[in-house]
Symmetry: C2
Subunit: 401 residues, 2 copies
């Protein structure tokens, strides 16, 4: 008889964003005349920049001719993209990474989820809380014990070390959903913890392009010896509007060595290569060409303009919400503004209030973990007019709380 993975029974049936979209659709069906503004799911809204569009068109034309057609991509990604990443995201920042430590993927979500394939079920996993639900859900799906590391205004959103020694630690900075960051000293403490306890840090840097302050590390590999303990996830989704195009990359350093239960040395880089060559066939060639284009000088200018646009949205949201007396966090080095709900409302109550009274969709903080209860996330990824309209509506909302 088919035996299922029974760990699935222990997780909630709905993924957070599926749940939100269900609620929104129900509301829409009953209120067809209402204009809903979404500051909820962290999806970008602005056009893909010109260099990327041009590169995709060009690559598509190559696919149209047998002489220049490309079939299966290398499992680890095309060298042209790996070299562009290496030079621009690492060497130019003084960070030493090698080309065979970079694995191109179809977006950070896949790899932050799939990385668990190479890890044992018996790891104790520490995860910052609140966090992107994928970390907790995928570990629960694999039957691992999870310890949440509370991040709240009380500890300035800097997580404390786990109570039980952690084998695997998920850090996400700039943080989704709180928009907060760790500076180099704070991050160094975690690298040192991992070195001491032989733990693995899974560092999600999907939002590094939004960092505006100079003392915030863009990569965990800016910290001494981090290559011995950390895997880093990067994404083109938010950096260059690739949510609908699908590309990102993962760094698995060759210095990342652990031992089997019988003392044999194992390289996580080798294991990940084996995993990817067995279960993945690369992301589309035309998309990899698009990603390469953002590293040209025009590309860098064009994506910077879009990031600046979103960060101006963030400033508008943050300023306006504070004027309304709400307490906000983040929004300086990340496109997320994390607010304390007024009058100690629950996150979902505040969600319902916003949807029903002013037709604004945000994300309930509790959806990101226990420590998110009583908080709410706004994203800065909208169109400017929508953001301004949403802020106007928020003023009307204040009479309800």
């Amino acid at each position: 008889m088919i035996k299922i993975n029974e760990n699935y029974i222990r997780i909630k049936n709905n993924y957070l964003f599926s749940e939100i979209s269900k609620k929104v659709n129900e509301y829409k069906n009953c209120n067809k005349d209402k204009n809903i503004i979404s500051l909820g799911i962290g999806d970008v809204t602005q056009a893909v920049v010109k260099v990327v569009i041009d590169a995709i068109h060009k690559a598509t034309d190559e696919m149209a001719k047998t002489e220049t057609f490309r079939g299966y991509a290398p499992y680890e990604g095309y060298d042209f993209l790996i070299q562009a990443i290496l030079k621009n995201d690492f060497i130019n920042r003084g960070i030493f990474v090698e080309s065979d430590e970079i694995f191109i993927n179809d977006g950070a979500k896949s790899d932050t989820g799939n990385i668990g394939d190479i890890l044992g079920h018996n790891n104790h996993v520490a995860i910052v809380d609140p966090a992107y639900p994928v970390y907790v859900d995928t570990n629960k799906m694999a039957g691992r014990t999870v310890e949440l590391l509370t991040c709240s205004p009380e500890n300035c959103f800097v997580p404390m070390f786990p109570k039980k020694k952690a084998d695997v630690i998920y850090l996400c900075y700039p943080n989704n959903p709180t928009g907060t960051t760790l500076n180099s000293e704070q991050l160094k403490k975690w690298v040192d913890y991992a070195l001491e306890n032989k733990s693995l840090i899974l560092f999600d840097a999907a939002y590094e392009a939004y960092i505006s302050q100079s003392n915030i590390p863009h990569s965990i590999y800016e910290i001494l010896n981090a290559k011995k303990v950390a895997i880093e996830f990067r994404s083109f989704s938010k950096t260059a509007g690739f949510t609908g195009l699908r590309a990102g990359y993962t760094i698995v350093p060759k210095e990342l060595i652990t031992k089997t239960s019988f003392g044999e040395k194992v390289s996580l880089n080798t294991m990940w290569k084996r995993r990817q060559s067995t279960k993945f066939n690369g992301t589309a060639y035309i998309v990899q060409r698009g990603a390469e284009a953002i590293y040209s000088s025009d590309g860098q200018k064009q994506i910077r303009a879009v990031i600046d646009y979103y960060m101006e949205n963030a400033r508008i949201i943050k300023t306006n919400l504070e004027l309304l007396g709400l307490t906000t966090y983040g929004g300086i080095n990340a496109p997320y503004i994390w607010i304390k709900t007024p009058n100690t409302m629950t996150s979902w109550d505040f969600f319902d209030l916003l949807l029903n009274q002013v037709q604004i969709v945000g994300t309930p903080g509790s959806g990101f973990g226990e420590a998110g209860e009583g908080f709410f996330r706004f994203t800065a990824f909208g169109n400017r007019d929508n953001i301004l309209e949403a802020m106007f509506r928020m003023k009307k909302l204040s009479e309800f709380y």
Copy 2:
């Protein structure tokens, strides 16, 4: 301390096709003047057809404008593509499938690998042998016991039932690598076996577009009650030259219900939806538009012309090899020709002979499992000139065996 998934230690370090490409590269480095012809990895070579190219260009232009930009795709895929699949691949063939049973992916390899996420580690798995290495490797990675179902000339490549009751059964028809098929009666026996034993059939139909004979089922759902026991994998890779574009789909019927160890009913469709929404963010919008285009009337004609071209290659290979006295299988309903190596050579010895003497790359049968030892796979996916040249060289080879 980091604990790895130690099942990885038990699998071979190299994925078959990585191993072949390593060998070929070594040969190339020492023999720069030689012109190698690859009839090895099952990758297509012909240009992507015009309707697909046009659709991708159009969709790319949509991404270039904020008004028509598309971000995250629905986890299960865009409805426009699901509806096109439903109508053309199923309803028009008289097969009843519902739209929420179809899940678009980035290629069949991902899903045939990842489907194990929702299955327990304690399933006994039966896999046709020889087979696509992903089935065995991914199950060994998950620590499941695997029983191989030998397919050889002795049983006309029709697998016998497993010795131990199987919870999960992998069938691939038209078969990769042997190019052989099951007719409806033969397939019905497996559906009946699964119904009786409450097993799950994972049916890989990646090559269904190559079926030329009328009594061969294109989908397992042509068999009565198969929706109660089978998941089917489809791919645009070989159907429409998408190996470098990445799209396929999986059917997980809602009738596919099993029970947990404590007797609770579980829907595999619901579980797969949860898996995909947690670990996958859809395949590129522009690629989904490309896939949709193949279902237009022009699209069907254009992809048919490419399939016919490859199948004419198959005919040329099969005929020529038989003229050389080799025994061949397949090549009628599949783009693969499976041959018995001459003089009972091992598969890898024949690989080396071909590479060194006539610079032809094929795939050693033993790479597909024990039952493949002593066999060799040629693919029909090359350019016609290369195929003809390869057949010419094969004539020279006969003096070596």
